[in-house]
């Protein structure tokens, strides 16, 4: 596999091959913990850290691990990384650790991570592998935070509540009440809201893609009516 350029890696991770809305991987945490921005940021950063660690380690050992046992080895590497992150969160952001609960250890089973390890890291050298882990995590995180913000805003009428769980006591005042006197729209925070809003985000991405394609098609030269085809007799009608 040819070494991909960093530009291409970035475009892939953030847009063209976004793990959350194109590959649709890791949907379980995506749907389950995006009820608020703080949860989304917490899980997104944890996932990104795990992705960087696992991609780097897999890339380092890629030449000494045989094909037959590569998947168990990858899973153990990922599990070790997840355990470290989980303990870090338990030590420094205990409340968030409790809120995220089972979804932290479950990062191990997030398909994005094993997918990147097997599809990219085990075929590339350290630097691109680590960068791929970072940018895939970022692509996943952007969607997570966007979804969290949408659901928190519609569900409670405010944004950035409880940010002190992640950023220390000073962040307690970051909460922005966008609409005062708002009736909580529970559906947005409940699981169905996650499905509906994920669908809408995917639809939005497809809409942008369609517009880009239409613009590119419009730029292409169109054959002039009546002009002769190359190597084909007859006329274009």
């Amino acid at each position: 596999m040819a070494q991909a350029s960093y530009r291409e890696l970035s475009l892939n991770g953030l847009w063209k091959n976004n793990p959350a809305i194109v590959q649709l991987l890791g949907l379980c945490p995506l749907l389950a913990v995006t009820g608020s921005v703080v949860n989304a940021i917490g899980l997104a950063s944890a996932t990104t850290l795990v992705l960087i660690c696992s991609n780097s380690s897999v890339s380092l050992v890629r030449n000494i691990v045989s094909d037959a046992i590569r998947l168990p080895v990858f899973v153990m590497i990922i599990a070790a990384a997840v355990t470290c992150i989980e303990m870090l969160m338990q030590a420094f952001t205990y409340e968030l650790y409790q809120i995220l609960g089972i979804f932290l250890p479950l990062i191990t089973t997030n398909c994005v991570i094993l997918g990147r390890a097997d599809a990219f890291a085990c075929k590339n050298s350290l630097a691109p592998a680590a960068y791929d882990g970072f940018i895939m995590g970022a692509g996943f995180g952007v969607i997570l935070v966007l979804l969290g913000a949408l659901r928190e805003l519609l569900g409670t009428g405010a944004l950035f509540a409880n940010m002190d769980l992640l950023f220390g006591p000073a962040a307690a005042s970051w909460k922005v009440v966008v609409i005062s006197d708002y009736q909580p729209f529970l559906l947005a925070i409940l699981p169905p809201g996650a499905f509906i809003f994920t669908g809408l985000i995917i639809a939005g991405k497809n809409l942008v893609d369609m517009n880009i394609k239409r613009r590119q098609d419009a730029l292409k030269e169109k054959p002039v009516k009546g002009s002769k085809r190359v190597r084909v007799t007859g006329h274009i009608s």
């Binding site: 009736q183 909580p184 729209f185 529970l186 559906l187 947005a188 509906i196």
Partner: protein
């Protein structure tokens, strides 16, 4: 030019979508009048506001999807959805509640799935359930019926809808809710304790249900639908109630008559369960579909967390309708049933 090749039967169905929808609308009139008589103008305000919103959302969705707008608006299906949803909403609901409900019904439940005829779930019930789980406080606040509290005039009803902050109204639990909350009492004591109960079921509710029954029977006479689904639903609901009711204590869940004339039973049986798009297709399938809705309604009413159950029961069975169809496909004439050789 190609010749038109159409196989038999060559009979022409005189029922257009528009006519069916108009008949359904007409059949809801007695029920709406009874609701207005007992609960004031709130229901009427809901329906008018809801129908306007439904037409607005419908035309917006049709324009976005590039469909002919006036052709589909004229089939009245959006108005029927709005009417059925708004009948089920508490009177004096605030305007935004109806906006959210109609938007979920028309945009999400109907047009995201491909519009009229393609929706797997009943749009009105989706709108209702979205509201019920999102705004439980507003959705369970019914105004007291005539005879148990004062009624509001038209101006007050409009005020309640469009300036909900200024409206000062009394709300009460519904009879089904009361039955659920007062488990320790005998039925007679419960009846005497509050003025909310009437002759057979809730005050006002029993007549609304009878009015919807009348409208439904008229639709049946007009052959808008067959008797199978509503009859099976009412029969199984009555059977469940008869099985569990011990004749006196309210913990045993009320008599069959109480359940037939409470909540959304008749509206559901004749206007929701009979929806041709979301129900099972074959006659045998309709019997199964209706009967299971009746069972589910009773189960959720008796042991669920919500006082009335029709919307949940219908949505669950909407899921199951294709499955029922798969197993109840009638054998075509001349073919042998593969199951019984």
């Amino acid at each position: 030019m190609a010749l038109m090749r159409i196989t038999s039967p060559h009979a022409h169905g005189p029922m257009s979508t528009t006519r069916v929808m108009q008949s359904v609308l007409l059949a809801t009139v007695p029920g709406i009048l009874v609701l207005t008589h007992f609960f004031g103008y709130g229901t009427l305000v809901n329906i008018v506001w809801g129908a306007m919103l439904a037409l607005l959302f419908e035309s917006a969705a049709l324009r976005l999807r590039g469909r002919p707008v006036s052709f589909y608006l004229k089939d009245y299906s959006a108005v029927v959805t709005a009417t059925l949803l708004c009948i089920a909403l508490p009177p004096y609901a605030p305007w935004w509640l109806i906006v959210v409900g109609i938007a979920s019904a028309i945009l999400i439940a109907k047009h995201l799935y491909g519009g009229l005829g393609y929706n797997p779930f009943n749009p009105a019930m989706v709108g209702y359930v979205v509201l019920l789980i999102s705004f439980p406080v507003q959705m369970t606040a019914w105004s007291p019926p005539r005879g148990a509290g004062e009624l509001h005039g038209l101006v007050a009803a409009l005020e309640a809808c469009f300036t909900p902050g200024n409206f000062d109204g009394v709300t009460m639990a519904t009879p089904l809710d009361l039955l659920k909350q007062n488990n320790a009492l005998l039925m007679e004591d419960l009846w005497q304790q509050t003025p909310l109960f009437g002759r057979w079921a809730g005050l006002g509710w029993e007549w609304a249900n009878i009015a919807f029954l009348a409208g439904g029977l008229w639709l049946l006479y007009q052959r808008i639908f067959t008797w199978h689904a509503p009859a099976a639903m009412l029969a199984s609901l009555g059977l469940m109630a008869a099985l569990f009711y011990d004749g006196g204590s309210s913990a045993s869940g009320g008599s069959p008559l109480f359940h037939w004339l409470s909540g959304a039973t008749m509206l559901g049986a004749f206007f929701i369960v009979t929806d041709p798009v979301t129900s099972a297709v074959s006659l045998r399938g309709k019997l199964i579909y209706g009967a299971l809705i009746g069972v589910l309604v009773y189960l959720i009413r008796a042991w669920g967390n919500y006082p009335d159950a029709l919307a949940f029961a219908v949505l669950i069975m909407n899921f199951a309708a294709p499955f029922i169809d798969h197993y109840t496909q009638p054998t075509t004439y001349g073919h042998r049933d593969e199951g019984s050789k």
